[in-house]
């Protein structure tokens, strides 16, 4: 009788430990990974847009253009670009490199590939975290001797 009580208490403690692991470790990790992947998606979209814009410029042979610059708070002012053949592209860590269109497209493809790989990594990470959560939940279920769902 006493043994059973001790065992039950131990099991409760174990369940508690597992639940804590899921709640305090795995779930925050999962959220973090998803957020990281979202930023990567965002960057990927940005570069995809840039690639399409440059291709458009190339196709139309635009050498000068006008655009609206957002000064902040959705207040715009007209801006003129006299020469579009040279473009400064963000290469990361706050550095911008002056490219021609072809160079920019080349860089963008490299960058896109890298982003795609990173996104893949994060997707795998997310999947593994989800799997771990599932595993621990299964362990808890076994400890509580509940029937499998």
């Amino acid at each position: 009788m006493a043994m059973a009580a001790v065992e039950a208490r131990l099991r409760q403690e174990k369940v508690k430990k597992f639940e804590d692991f899921v709640d305090r470790r795995l779930k925050p990790d999962l959220l973090n990974a998803i957020a990281q992947r979202d930023t990567l998606f965002h960057q990927q979209k940005t570069f995809l847009d840039l690639k399409m814009n440059i291709e458009n410029l190339e196709k139309n042979g635009v050498t000068s253009m006008r655009s609206m610059v957002n000064l902040g708070s959705e207040v715009y002012m007209q801006a003129e670009v006299p020469d579009t053949r040279h473009i400064f592209v963000d290469i990361g860590l706050g550095f911008h490199v002056e490219f021609t269109w072809q160079e920019a497209l080349q860089f963008i493809s490299v960058r896109e590939a890298r982003l795609a790989r990173q996104i893949d990594e994060y997707t795998h990470l997310i999947a593994s975290i989800k799997a771990q959560i599932k595993l621990v939940c299964e362990g808890i279920r076994e400890l509580l001797q509940l029937p499998p769902e």
Partner: protein, 389 residues
């Protein structure tokens, strides 16, 4: 009579755990508001920066900038048409505005943001007060504070108070307390004003209680003498004057003297315009005691009763005199001052005293002397004056 209350330890009402949770919840709310406030403050700072930028941009025809091209690329270029801005009005509508107009729009936005910040700050202060209350409650509970509660039964309260009143001891103690308070106040006033005494309503009430007969008679008398009802207020007031005189003889006499002085001056002026007989008789009465009879005789068409009554109050002769004094002079402006503000009584009279004595020194002195020398005199004298008028 025995009432039962309950004494509940605060710790039993508010459990430690609950209080802690409440504090945590409020703290969380405060943190949320602070984050919101920080966000709005960021907007406000951005707005201010934009205002200064928009104001500066039209200073030059064009500005060399890097024109953003998508999120990750720039072209070297320049801003043109620097006095022409496209402002989002909301809901996808844009307006072409000049720099100045844009500045006005941004100012309005800034004011709106400021209002928001104020609202959030107010909310934060409210929440902080709430948190403080919770914390103090928790502290009190942990200190073992006890809440004592006693049910209020209106009927029981009334009956108990009635029984208190019915017992003579309670009534006496109340009266004594009031008396002591009055005396303390008098002493205080005495220190403040050496020359002129002061009065208070409590004095009058007190005297009413002590010398009920005199007061009631006085009231009747005034009912006879005074034409309009408003003078009854003055009656009670004058009673208070005399009361103070009774309590504090020296003060009362000086006060009365000054009052009478003023009255004398006033009446003298009045007497000149009115019947000469009245003025002369008045003079006589002031100077000489025996003339009192003549005065009362003259008055007897209206004031025989009062004049007859005056000897019946040897204890407090000033009493009816002063009441007459105030009630007599219905049209006078000074009276209004007296009746409206009792504290102003001595002050106004003293001032008048000076001015009057300057104008008619012998006259006012005479009247004052007459009163101080023969306190029983003024009763008849004032009645006479009233009759003359």
């Amino acid at each position: 009579m025995a009432k039962k209350g309950t004494a509940t330890p605060l710790g039993a009402v508010f459990s430690q755990e609950e209080t802690r949770r409440a504090v945590a919840r409020v703290a969380q709310a405060v943190a949320d508001r602070r984050a919101e406030l920080g966000r709005v403050q960021g907007f406000f700072a951005d707005n201010a920066a934009l205002v200064s930028l928009v104001q500066r941009l039209p200073d030059e025809l064009s500005h060399e900038i890097m024109v953003p091209f998508g999120g990750a690329a720039f072209f070297p270029g320049s801003l043109i048409h620097t006095n022409q801005l496209l402002v989002l009005l909301g809901d996808g509508y844009y307006a072409d505005r000049s720099a100045k107009q844009t500045t006005e729009i941004l100012h309005r936005r800034g004011m709106e943001l400021e209002a928001q910040m104020e609202a959030i700050k107010a909310t934060i202060s409210d929440l902080e007060a709430e948190a403080k209350f919770f914390e103090s409650t928790a502290a009190e509970a942990s200190e073992g504070l006890v809440e004592i509660r006693e049910e209020y039964d209106e009927d029981a309260e009334i009956s108990s108070s009635k029984s208190d009143a019915s017992s003579s001891y309670g009534g006496m103690s109340d009266k004594d307390m009031e008396h002591a308070r009055n005396m303390a106040r008098l002493a205080e006033l005495e220190v403040e004003e050496n020359e002129s005494g002061n009065t208070s309503e409590e004095d009058g009430d007190d005297d009413d209680d002590d010398e009920g007969a005199g007061t009631s008679e006085d009231g009747e008398e005034n009912g006879d003498t005074s034409g309009d009802g408003s003078e009854h207020d003055n009656v009670s007031f004058s009673a208070s004057v005399s009361g103070s005189a009774g309590n504090n003889q020296s003060h009362g006499s000086t006060q009365l003297k000054s009052a009478l002085k003023k009255l004398g001056g006033k009446d003298m002026l009045k007497g000149a315009s009115l019947a000469p007989s009245a003025s002369t008789s008045k003079i006589n009465s002031e100077v000489q005691v025996p003339f009192r009879k003549a005065v009362s005789f003259k008055d007897d068409n209206r004031h025989v009763v009062s004049s007859l009554k005056s000897p019946s109050l040897p204890q407090d002769p000033n009493y009816p005199a002063v009441s007459q004094l105030t009630s007599d002079r219905a049209p006078s402006r000074d009276r209004n001052i007296i009746s409206s503000r009792q504290k102003a009584f001595t002050g106004s009279i003293v001032e008048h005293d000076d001015s009057l004595s300057a104008i008619q020194p012998p006259r006012s002195n005479d009247s004052g002397k007459a009163v101080s020398d023969a306190p029983s005199r003024p009763v008849s004298r004032f009645k006479m004056q009233k009759g003359g008028r």
